[in-house]
């Protein structure tokens, strides 16, 4: 028996375009026998599973089995998985003919770059994209065994050509011997800078919220672009309103929109998933704020051939139809006045969706909350 352990040593979340590293250790756990393994090979693939009631996939958009590299061999990484393969890298051979003495163990490192155009990991209602490193190994005269290490991929937009973010060429020394000291920005660094640039705070935006009867509140969102894991901070000012608002809620939602040609039914609406919600009774509040965390585990907004994911803040304002009762000032000096809150409020609900942009974050941070197993073991 050979125990195969595949592990992602650093993290389980990567950016598309980064190189993933997977250590595969083969240990002969048998006491006496030397085991001979025929080959072992590793590959990254992204499995896309779709809800059949909602999505039709145009034939040309699907990778057929022959398109997947390495499919001619017995090593089929997506074997036994649902859905279609959205992406697959060339299989890399870890070794051929490996003899392991009893107790001996050998470690191989598999490195592969995740294509920049890869779709992000996503678990939606209709569509799911999931990534795995699949290690296949075979003992002589035994069936191939597959071992899958799941990982998560985040996509940062605008990284198709990272050279544009590098220092301009004229600053680069053209003496080839200076290359040792020249520091090339890695994709991760560039991506972090890009993210920083697009999510840094820009001027706050104000929204006057009104209904047919008048002004309800003024909402201020301090920025519109966020990274996952950030808090969405906004202020709500009711002091300028003319309509009393009894309650409001802000729900962070994603909208999963299937592209038109892939929809099963034309009338099909998008699928909405809610995350954190802030809810507050605000009848006698003048100013308050919301702080809605974007879960680090959620997928940032993205667009692929078959779907689009959009983020938004869904607001609900419960406004009173009539102003709160007031008590007249006392008519005489000996009269005391008592006021009591109304026992019933006639209210109406108003909703509003505010689109926001949500981007990826540093994959290290995302790893810290990811509960994906970084070590997977099987016996061959």
């Amino acid at each position: 028996m050979v125990e195969v352990v595949a592990s992602l040593p650093d993290r389980s979340v990567y950016l598309a375009g980064e190189t993933i590293e997977c250590n595969v250790t083969f240990t002969n756990v048998s006491q006496k026998l030397t085991v001979k393994l025929g080959w072992a090979s590793a590959q990254i693939h992204c499995q896309c599973s779709m809800s059949e009631t909602r999505v039709i996939v145009p034939k040309n958009a699907q990778l057929t089995t022959s398109d997947i590299p390495g499919n001619r061999t017995t090593f089929v990484p997506s074997r036994g998985e649902k859905g279609s393969t959205a992406l697959s890298t060339k299989p890399a051979i870890l070794f051929c003919d490996l003899n392991l003495a009893p107790g001996e163990s050998q470690t191989f490192t598999y490195r592969e770059t995740i294509p920049r155009e890869a779709p992000p990991s996503f678990r939606g209602t209709a569509i799911k994209y999931s990534y795995k490193v699949t290690v296949g190994a075979q003992r002589f005269n035994c069936p191939t065994k597959l071992l899958r290490v799941p990982f998560r991929v985040l996509v940062v937009p605008g990284l198709h050509d990272i050279s544009v973010y590098q220092e301009p060429d004229d600053l680069k020394p053209n003496n080839p011997f200076q290359r040792l000291q020249r520091k090339e920005n890695t994709l991760l660094e560039v991506a972090m800078e890009v993210l920083q640039a697009i999510t840094c705070r820009k001027g706050p935006s104000f929204y006057n919220i009104t209904n047919s009867k008048g002004k309800v509140a003024r909402f201020c969102l301090l920025k519109q672009a966020f990274r996952i894991g950030d808090d969405i901070i906004g202020t709500c000012d009711f002091s300028c309103g003319t309509i009393p608002c009894a309650k409001f809620s802000v729900t962070l939602q994603t909208e999963e929109i299937i592209t038109e040609e892939c929809r099963r039914k034309n009338s099909q609406s998008s699928m909405v998933t809610s995350y954190s919600r802030h809810e507050e009774f605000c009848l006698q509040t003048q100013r308050t704020h919301i702080s809605v965390p974007i879960p680090l585990t959620a997928a940032p907004g993205f667009l692929t051939d078959i779907m689009q994911l959009k983020w938004r803040l869904h607001f609900e304002f419960i406004t009173c139809k009539a102003p709160l009762p007031e008590v007249d000032a006392p008519c005489s000096a000996s009269e005391s006045v008592s006021w009591q809150g109304p026992s019933q409020l006639d209210v109406e609900t108003m909703v509003w969706d505010l689109p926001i942009r949500v981007f990826a974050t540093n994959p290290m941070y995302a790893t810290s909350v990811s509960l994906l197993k970084q070590d997977v073991m099987c016996l061959v």
């Binding site: 040593p9 011997f177 301090l222 009711f238 419960i318 009591q340 209210v347 810290s368």
Partner: protein, 1432 residues
């Protein structure tokens, strides 16, 4: 602990009754659900959540005139009445009753006619509890002669302090209980209740101005009108006037306010001088002892006393773990129970334009009150008369004073100090939980902490993200506020309990589990805490249905339902609950501790537990009240007294640790009894516990490591305590030396208590990683809302490395052996060197700046300690981060920087040596610094530390020549005004070292600002900075005046000498690649110019073969491929092993350099196989080299495949190669050219070729062309030789060199047999040069021709004399190395002479370029000129 977050929510405090006069007081009822807010004439009652006004009552104008304005209020404990004190000495009693006539007796029921059906995710209209419809009516009043200063509620009566020095008791119906009136002047006051003599107040005019009452303490904390403070108590709770005694609070003379904390038996008094003093009530003597003081230090905020004024209010949080303090002039602060400052408003940066003064003014808090469970702080703020300029577009400041609600997040430890919560940074907010993401460090809890997992931990500590778990609204709607929260040891599961019921959440599924049956939820109240035990939620609760106390275990994986729960009945209410391994320990309200054992039973379908009581311990004698017990745990640690248990791997629960109001009591198992003799029996019947010992006092929280790590025993077996203002204490075990242990078996470890201060408030400890984690509220300014009274506060994580504190304290106590032992277990920490630096720095700073002589200085001991580790680097870094003024003291102990510098050089620690250079420069004469810099430069060049060398060149260039001449007074000056006298700087240099802190050359100011010292105030810093600038200016002036051209050039000359010497050295051993790197990395080094000068000196090549080999080796350039003929002569096995050997050889070369020389090394590796076998030298164990580019996968594969292609191909046997240079052969060669070295090497070689060609070093040009196997380049070289003024001896050497090479290529093959195996392949490959040599034979001829038909005119140009070619050959042959070969040369020349091909023919044949020779030369000229542009 409590941390404010976000902005304060502003409520609409405008009174619906039209009263706009200022808000004066806020006061909550006992369960903090209702808040009474007073203005001068009205009372309004607010509900706590939602914060909404229920009722507002405005007194008639007549009433205000008659009774006076409202001052303050008090609720009756049952919330049925409110008593209001008026300014004219009346107490008005108002009845608060629920108006039953209203529908449901509740208010604000929202009603909506919805046309559409119920929508998912939609906001629920009435999801919260009904807001009671209250009404207010005045029922009575009572006049108090002299007026009321304060009142407290004493069960069914009010205790009213009057201005006439009386304490009156008034019933809630307004009738004065005059029998019980206490006269202040008749109370005997003393220092304690035992021995001291009591005395009466002599001044009859004194009255009680403030008071606070605690039934648990049985007395009142009072502030007298003369500023003294005291505790008034009686022996019964009836407070009969005859029984009353007073105890002075010593040291207080200007008290303003008082607050009692009954849980910790503390009394806090606020003073006029903006400080607070907290007293602890000593149970034995009844005296008030100062526990700690609440002082905003000048480090936090200077001059707090004048800006803030007197303390106006003190309020403990509902759970007593934090104290809010506000000042009369403005400002707010929050302190932990034992005095650690958590947050203060003066320190938070106000957003935008608001200045500090205004900010504190804005935060002038009139009155404050904590909300339910401390999640909110209600603040009545009083805006200044001239409000801050409000932003345009906003109506100018509110006419109303503001009612604010500040949100808080608190540590789960505050109320539920169970084991799991200790290991995680876990905070609970009103509607979310904040958890530290832990997945980055899962291995830390394993016993074998791997270094890389620690690095991961370090990365994780840098991560500031929280994992936020929103609480389920469905649960919150009925059960707000959350009281208890617990996280399991792995950090994957959390559980919460609110008003009723409980809920739990799994992070991996991101799902909450709530009771399916809501009645079950409502029928239980979690009273004593919540804890995870394995996959069970264990809770101490009260069963409302059956009216009894229970412990319940709910399995995590099944539905949350009582049918799956295991329920244990307990006789009385449980106060606290905790686990230790498989033991459950609970504290009951009857002061009994019960210990249960838990056993998991796997029953299908749901697992359950078996719980059995094993022991009961009565601790009633040791604790005043069960409510005073803050924390309770079982532990395996013991004191060093008494015999130990038999040593075992998993020690039992040895002790119970109880935190009683901050005093830590340790109940240890009694092993002195007869049980010891029969261990079997002891197992069945647990040992009793001894009476307790007090381990520490003023303990806020404690941490115990629940897992063992044999390697880091000290850190995991210690007891860690957070003691508020007293910092952190660790009760550290000291293990005896092994020899001693052997002598005396079972000798228990001694323990030592080590206190130290930390900058953060610790909330969790990573035991093995040496780090504590905490949280703080950091302010963020958002300009969007600059009319907020408070900046946005964000909850941030903080961390602190604590190891150096422990080491220092141990060293201080002469326990260096133990310090060493601990440090040795921690060397794997990524920041271990940083710890040493901190240790050295802190001690240095303290001792060097001490004004008095230190009798027993610690620094020598610390230095000796650091010597055990990386001494040189630590000292250098520490010195660089310390002030220059401290250096003399430092180096008087560690040794002179000169010696250290030399030591660094010897050990090859060049970067560290560079650090010492800076130090040397400041302490020694510039000439010395220069000498050392020169030494270092040599070493740096030798070790190819180009960056360092470049910096050193700049450094040497920047040394002021005038300083070098008159050094003495300068040195003195330097020592006197340290930072200003840093070197002249590096004038034109860009930021010198890019790698930040590790950088060797940092501009002085930058270094200073990075200095660890924070003792200085900013003003001091400023003046220093200014001085630095001026000094620098002066220096610059001097430089410019004295900077004579000659001197500067002399200086440069001096540097150039060093550089040229090194360049010559490199070239002398043919390390031209290093030379190129050297030239490229040292700014302004003119390689071409230098080479031109050295054309016939250093740049000449005597041994072509050696030079060629060196080129191949340095550029990782494969030797030409061997031919089939060669292959046939050796057996395949040998060849394989040869290849292996060569690879190994090459790898060794690579590794030996230490520098990543291979151009491909830095690239992503496609596939690397590493072996775990020890025998890495066996042939099967091939270490694959990383491919450098796509084409050349790796050496082995390339060579093997090429060999095989030869075999298949047209068997080009070496013998069959004709001497004629036929076209087909050239073609084959060009194919072969595809088999090249790494792309980067090729770029480098071609670049170098241009350089040497331009410099006229044609020998090298020839060699490089040869290596490149580029016939075109050879043609160019030869052309250059023929067309330009090339010294004839150079041409001669070229010709000869080629001959040698050919000879080598032809002959060395036969030497194989005598050469050891690893070398075989190298020769084998070099043999492949033969075909190429033959291909360029034409060029050789050409060279020969040049030599022979040497035109005299050219000769004149090259040298003064006109020696004949023959003569030159002779002079050359006198060279020893060439001598022996001299004889062979003519023969070979002859052999080659057979075929003299003109240059143009060659070109045409190769088909590479269809231009003729002159065009090629033109090209060459163009290229070289364009090249010049490029490098200039």
């Amino acid at each position: 602990m409590y941390f404010p977050v976000g902005w304060a929510k502003q409520l609409n405090a405008a009174q619906p009754t039209g009263d706009a006069r200022p808000l004066v007081h806020i006061c909550s009822n006992q369960d903090r659900l209702l808040f009474a807010v007073l203005t001068h004439s009205s009372i309004s009652i607010w509900y706590c959540k939602p914060a909404v006004q229920i009722v507002c009552f405005r007194r008639s104008d007549n009433s205000v005139v008659e009774f006076g304005m409202n001052v303050c209020a008090k609720w009756k404990p049952d919330s049925s009445m409110i008593a209001i004190v008026t300014s004219k000495g009346y107490i008005l009693f108002y009845q608060v009753e629920v108006e039953l006539s209203k529908k449901n007796a509740s208010l604000y029921i929202q009603k909506e006619e919805r046309s559409f059906g119920g929508k998912q995710d939609s906001i629920e209209l009435n999801n919260s509890d009904c807001i009671p419809a209250l009404k207010l009516s005045q029922v009575a009043y009572s006049q108090v002669p002299g007026g009321v200063t304060s009142l407290v509620c004493l069960r069914e009566e009010l205790m009213v302090a009057t201005r006439r020095g009386l304490l009156q008791r008034i019933h809630w119906d307004g009738i004065v209980n005059s029998d019980m009136t206490i006269e202040l002047s008749s109370i005997p006051f003393s220092a304690d209740l035992q021995h001291s003599r009591a005395s009466m107040l002599d001044d009859r005019g004194i009255y009680v101005s403030r008071q606070d009452y605690s039934p648990l303490l049985g007395g009142f904390a009072v502030v007298l009108s003369n500023g003294r403070a005291a505790f008034i108590t009686a022996n019964t709770l009836k407070f009969e006037p005859s029984n009353i005694v007073g105890v002075w609070a010593q040291e207080v003379t200007e008290a303003t306010t008082a607050a009692i904390n009954h849980k910790y038996t503390l009394m806090a008094f606020g003073c006029q001088n903006a400080e607070g003093i907290v007293y602890h009530l000593d149970e034995l003597t009844g005296a008030l002892l100062v526990s700690h003081r609440l002082v905003v230090s000048s480090k936090e905020f200077p001059d707090a006393q004048t800006i803030c004024g007197a303390v106006s209010e003190l309020k403990w949080t509902p759970d007593g773990t934090a104290l809010a303090m506000v000042w009369r002039k403005g400002g707010f602060s929050l302190w932990s129970v034992f005095g650690a400052l958590l947050v203060h408003s003066m320190g938070v940066e106000s957003g935008g334009s608001i200045s500090d003064d205004l900010n504190t003014q804005l935060l002038r808090i009139q009155s404050l009150e904590w909300g339910c469970e401390g999640y909110h702080l209600w603040l009545l703020t009083d805006r200044p008369d001239n409000p801050s300029p409000s932003p345009p577009g906003k109506p100018s400041a509110d006419p109303h004073p503001a009612l604010h609600q500040l949100n808080f997040v608190k540590s789960a430890l505050a109320l539920n100090p169970c084991a799991g919560n200790h290991e995680h940074l876990f905070l609970q907010g009103e509607d979310k939980l904040y958890l530290n993401p832990e997945e980055g460090m899962p291995h830390l809890h394993k016993s074998s902490a791997l270094p890389d997992s620690l690095a991961a931990a370090a990365a994780f500590i840098g991560n500031k993200q929280w994992q936020i778990v929103p609480l389920p609204h469905t649960y919150l709607a009925h059960n707000w506020p959350i009281r208890f929260a617990a996280v399991n040891a792995a950090g994957h599961c959390v559980a919460i309990a609110g008003k009723t019921g409980l809920a739990h959440y799994a992070l991996y599924s991101r799902k909450w589990k709530l009771f399916g049956n809501e009645t079950q939820e409502r029928d239980m109240i979690v009273t004593g805490g919540l804890i995870w035990w394995k996959d069970f939620v264990c809770t101490a609760c009260y069963n409302l249905l059956d009216q009894r106390d229970e412990i319940r275990f709910y399995p995590r994986d099944s539905k949350l339902d009582n049918t799956f729960a295991h329920i244990v009945r307990v006789p009385s209410q449980i106060m606290l609950i905790n686990t230790f391994r498989d033991l459950l320990i609970v504290l009951c309200a009857d002061c009994h501790i019960m210990i249960y054992s838990i056993l998991r039973v796997n029953v299908q379908p749901n697992p359950t537990v078996q719980v059995s009581k094993i022991q009961e311990v009565a601790i009633g004698n040791f604790i005043p009240h069960p409510a005073n017990v803050v924390a309770l745990t079982l532990t395996s640690i013991r004191t060093d007294t008494g015999p130990a248990s038999a040593p075992s791997d998993i020690p039992d629960a040895e002790s119970i640790v109880v935190n009683v109001a901050g005093r830590l009591l340790l109940f240890q198992r009694d092993r002195s009894g007869p049980q010891l003799k029969s261990p079997k029996e002891a197992k069945d019947r647990p040992l009793p516990f001894c009476s307790p010992v007090m381990v520490a006092s003023a303990v806020e929280s404690m941490w115990l490591c629940n897992h063992r790590n044999g390697r880091k025993q000290h850190l995991t077996e210690a007891l860690w305590l957070c003691c508020g203002a007293a910092g952190v204490k660790v009760w550290l075990p000291l293990y005896p030396k092994e020899e001693q242990q052997n002598k005396k078996r079972g000798f228990m470890s001694k323990r030592i208590m080590i206190p130290f201060h930390v900058d953060i408030y610790p909330l969790a400890l990573l035991f093995e990683a040496g780090i504590m984690l905490g949280a703080s509220s950091e302010s963020l300014s958002y300009n969007a809302s600059n009319d907020e009274i408070w900046p946005y506060l964000q909850l941030e994580r903080t961390s602190h490395v604590y190891l150096h504190h422990i080491l220092r304290q141990l060293l201080k106590r002469h326990l260096g052996v133990h310090a060493l032992e601990i440090a040795r277990t921690c060397t794997d920490l990524p920041y271990f060197l940083h710890v040493l630096e901190l240790l050295l720095h802190e001690v240095l700073e303290e001792e060097a700046t001490s004004k008095e002589p230190i009798p027993d200085p610690l620094l020598p001991r610390v230095v000796a300690f650091v010597e055990e580790f990386d001494f040189l680097q630590t000292v250098a870094h520490c010195a660089r981060k310390s002030e220059v003024a401290l250096w003399q003291y430092l180096f008087s102990i560690v040794g002179t920087p000169k010696d250290l510098f030399e030591e660094c050089l010897l050990e090859g620690k060049l970067e560290t040596a560079a650090s010492y250079l800076i130090i040397l420069q400041n302490l020694e004469q510039p000439i010395v610094a220069r000498q050392h810099a020169t030494l270092l430069l040599d070493a740096a060049l030798e070790h190819r530390h180009w960056d360092l060398a470049r910096d050193l060149v700049r450094f040497l260039g920047a040394i002021d020549p005038s300083e070098a001449e008159c050094p003495h007074n300068v040195v003195k000056n330097r020592l006197a005004s340290a930072p200003a006298m840093y070197p002249t700087g590096f004038p034109s240099a860009p930021p010198v070292s890019p790698q930040g802190n590790d950088g060797t050359f940092v501009r002085p100011n930058a270094a200073r600002s990075r200095s660890l010292s924070n003792a200085e105030t900013s003003s001091k810093e400023k003046s220093k900075l200014i001085r630095t600038d001026s000094m620098e200016n002066k220096l610059r002036l001097r430089r410019s005046s004295s900077g004579h051209k000659d001197e500067v050039s002399a200086d440069h000359f001096f540097i150039d000498v060093i550089l040229n010497r090194h360049a010559r050295k490199l070239l002398g051993v043919y390390r031209i690649r290093d030379l190129a790197c050297f030239a490229a990395n040292l700014e302004d080094y003119q390689l071409v110019g230098w080479l031109r000068k050295e054309q016939v000196r250093a740049a000449r090549v005597e041994d072509f073969v050696a030079a060629l080999k060196r080129l191949h080796e340095d550029f990782l350039w494969p030797m030409p491929v061997l031919t089939l003929g060669a292959l046939q002569r050796i057996s395949s096995t040998t060849s394989l092993s040869c290849q292996t050997a060569r690879l190994v050889d090459q790898m060794e070369d690579l590794n030996g350099d230490g520098v990543c020389k291979g151009p491909g090394m830095g690239r992503p590796l496609g596939l690397t196989r590493t072996s775990t076998m020890e025998s890495s030298l066996s042939t099967s164990d091939v270490q694959l080299r990383p491919p450098s580019s796509f084409e050349d996968v790796s050496h082995t594969t390339t060579e093997v495949s090429d060999t095989s292609s030869f075999m298949e191909g047209d068997s080009a046997d070496s013998s069959s190669i004709s001497d004629s240079n036929c076209l087909s052969e050239l073609e084959q060669l060009s194919h072969e050219l595809a088999n090249r070295g790494p792309h980067q090497s090729e770029v480098e070689l071609r670049y170098l070729f241009q350089i040497v060609l331009e410099a006229g070093c044609l020998e090298w040009a020839l060699l490089i062309a040869l290596v490149l196997r580029d016939a075109m380049a050879i043609v160019r070289t030869v052309n250059t030789a023929s067309l330009t003024h090339t010294p004839i001896d150079m041409v001669g050497r070229m010709r000869e060199g080629l001959s040698y090479l050919e000879l080598w290529a032809n002959t060395e093959w036969y030497l194989i047999c005598s050469v050891i195996q690893p070398l075989i392949l190298r020769f084998l490959c070099s043999f492949g040069y033969k075909p190429f040599m033959q291909a360029i034979a034409g060029q050789v001829k050409q060279l020969e021709k040049i030599v022979e038909s040497n035109p005299p005119s050219r000769m004149q140009l090259t040298s003064s004399g006109t020696p004949s070619p023959r003569q030159r050959t002779v002079s050359m042959s006198s060279d020893a190395s060439a001598l022996e070969e001299e004889a062979d040369c003519p023969e070979r020349q002859l052999s080659m002479e057979r075929d003299v091909t003109p240059l143009a023919d060659d070109l045409a044949e190769q088909g590479e370029d269809d231009t003729d020779g002159s065009a090629a030369v033109d090209n060459l000229v163009r290229e070289s000129s364009s090249y010049e542009c490029a490098i200039s």
